[in-house]
């Protein structure tokens, strides 16, 4: 076979480039054609890179942490003065974001108190009032939606969470064939979420509440994955809260507004409960299914329940030792075929 005449020219221009490189010639000279070819490819690459980085255009300088926030110490290492400064900064931040002046405090645990929650599954009717009272109390993002409490509609006769449905959508509750199981943070005595945190941004306090320092959290979401109860929520976008709905009574470790990229979770309304009040989800419950109190007090509601009712915890076998107990009364109401 003879050489194809059409290729002569190309071959000539590529003379000297016997190396493996596809670029220019081996003797250091770059021919115009190869330069243009490679140049075009490089230009295309640059364009693609720029386009890929284009979301950075939407970066709002306000999203970046302020210098004060950046140099702020870990919660446990802050002195009283430094905490005051941090609270002042948060107040200003809230003012800037929402245009309202909050009262931000750092409320400490009480001595001789260990909080426990108990929930009566024979009473709960699945009305979801607790879910929304919690959102209002704790300044959770409305869009994207963040809710600490999930209410599962469970078929009667099983406690298998896999069979629960979050999205039940009936005109009226309860359904005769189901019971309802609200799930929120269980404030475990052996919390896996705390163990996995690489930077100690979440820890258990002396009253049993596991808290998150939203300024320390780096958003790695290990804790979210570690929680067997699906109790932690991540802020995928900047939380949105209508400013007239903001709860102005805030605490550092609980319901102050969060920023994008941090984890949050139920903290038994510590801004209320550490001042003697009941959690918001309990106050709103129309059937009195929710019970809360100090388990170190022998006469408290929850101690009585632990003593007299057959309580159980979710996923006991994973060894988390929850401080959140469920119980049934001995009978179902008459409408469910029980007797008085």
């Amino acid at each position: 076979m003879t050489m194809d005449p059409h290729n002569k020219e190309d071959q000539a221009s590529d003379q000297g480039c016997q190396g493996s490189c596809g670029c220019g010639s081996g003797d250091g000279k770059v021919s115009r054609r190869s330069f243009l070819r490679v140049g075009a490819a490089a230009l295309g690459g640059m364009a693609a890179l720029t386009a890929a980085l284009s979301p950075l255009r939407e970066l709002d300088p306000d999203d970046l942490p302020s210098v004060e926030e950046f140099i702020q110490k870990h919660y446990k290492e802050m002195s009283g003065e430094q905490m005051q400064a941090a609270l002042g900064r948060i107040e200003k931040d809230v003012q800037k974001r929402f245009g309202v002046t909050p009262e931000v405090a750092d409320i400490k645990p009480l001595d001789g108190v260990e909080f426990v929650y108990a929930l009566n599954l024979s009473r709960c009717i699945g009305c979801r009032k607790c879910v929304h009272a919690c959102v209002a109390e704790n300044n959770q993002s409305r869009s994207p939606e963040v809710q600490y409490i999930r209410v599962l509609e469970m078929p009667r006769g099983t406690t298998d969470l896999e069979q629960g449905d979050h999205h039940y959508d009936r005109p009226k509750v309860p359904s005769d064939h189901h019971y309802y199981m609200p799930v929120q943070c269980h404030q475990c005595a052996s919390p896996p979420c705390v163990k996995v945190c690489p930077i100690e941004a979440t820890w258990q306090e002396s009253d049993g509440i596991t808290v998150v320092d939203y300024d320390w959290c780096i958003g790695c979401r290990y804790c979210e994955a570690a929680c067997p109860y699906w109790a932690r929520r991540f802020n995928f976008a900047e939380p949105q809260i209508p400013k007239d709905k903001l709860n102005k009574k805030m605490s550092y470790l609980s319901n102050r507004p969060r920023h994008k990229g941090v984890i949050e979770k139920c903290h038994y309304c510590l801004q209320r409960t550490r001042q003697g009040q009941m959690p918001a989800c309990l106050e709103v419950c129309p059937v009195g299914a929710r019970k809360f109190g100090n388990v170190l007090d022998a006469d408290s509601d929850v101690t009585q329940i632990l003593k007299h009712k057959r309580v159980f915890v979710l996923k006991e076998d994973v060894g988390t030792l929850p401080r959140f107990f469920y119980y049934f009364d001995e009978r179902y109401p008459r409408s469910q075929g029980g007797e008085a």
Binding site: M1, T2, M3, N7, Q11, C17, S34, R37, V38, A40, A41, G44, G45, A48, A52, S54, I125, G126, C127, R128, K129, V131, A136, R142, S143, P144, E145, R150, R156, T158, D165, H166, H167, Y168, D169, R170, P171, K172, V173, H177, F236, A237, K245, T273, G276, Q277, M278, V284, V287, G288, G293, D297, D299, D301, I305, H308, E330, P333, R334, A340
Partner: protein, 240 residues
């Protein structure tokens, strides 16, 4: 064969010239992809209907009557003694009443007005022993027949305690039986549930990427196209 090797050479030369072009085309396509952003890098969020404050009000379901009870008759609140006593002395048990038609007893075999109301003094309730108690103490009435529930209530296991978990707190208040139960028909009505979560599943297609909060109107649970439940099957029904 020399012709064979030169063919190979030609092929490799062609490849060398074409590669940058292919690379460029790929980059251009990538650029278009990144700019058009067809998949979307945003967080899907949706219109969230704000729940009205009245829907998460923590005041009791019922208002209890208290010490000077009144009955709403003809749109006016009148005290019991306005009619009973002077005008209406005698009482009939279990007969159709000329008044109080809105009181429909649905309390099991507890079907006599005078099981609970005092025959002579209508602004009092009466225990089995004949002892008169004020309306404010109506839980003592219930205690006679619902001993276990009453004991649970006393220990804070039934009913609801508001205000404070600290036992000695003055804010602490336990709701009375009649603040939840209608004494005449004590079973609970069903409730309209508040809207369910949106975070736990992807939003319906038409609601994607709408970053809006719609507050104002109270929320209603509207049927969603992605609803997962269906009416209970026989299997579920026979589970209890």
């Amino acid at each position: 064969m020399p012709s064979n090797s030169s063919e190979k050479k030609i092929q490799s030369n062609v490849a060398k010239q074409v590669t940058p072009l292919i690379v460029m085309v790929v980059f251009v396509l990538l650029t278009i992809w990144f700019i058009l952003d067809p998949v979307g890098t945003g967080v899907p969020s949706m219109v969230v209907v704000e729940v009205d404050a009245s829907q998460i009000d923590s005041s009791p379901i019922r208002q209890m009557l208290g010490d000077s009870p009144t009955a709403r008759i003809g749109g006016v609140d009148q005290s019991c003694t306005a009619c009973h006593g002077a005008l209406l002395g005698t009482t009939r048990r279990n007969a159709p009443l000329a008044q109080h038609q809105h009181v429909k007893l649905n309390h099991g075999i507890n079907d006599d007005c005078l099981n609970c109301h005092d025959a002579e003094e209508r602004d009092k309730l009466a225990l089995r022993t004949g002892q008169k108690i004020s309306f404010k103490m109506s839980h003592q009435l219930c205690a006679q027949c619902h001993g276990t529930t009453y004991r649970d209530w006393q220990d804070g296991m039934h009913g609801k305690t508001l205000g404070s978990w600290q036992l000695q707190s003055r804010q602490r208040r336990s709701l009375k039986c009649v603040e939840c139960h209608d004494p005449h028909a004590p079973a609970f009505d069903s409730f309209e549930p508040l809207p369910g979560p949106h975070t736990l599943r992807m939003p319906p297609e038409h609601q994607k990427n709408q970053d809006k909060i719609d507050d104002g109107k109270p929320a209603t649970a509207s049927p969603s196209p992605l609803r997962r439940w269906s009416w209970p099957t026989d299997k579920e029904g026979s589970g209890h």
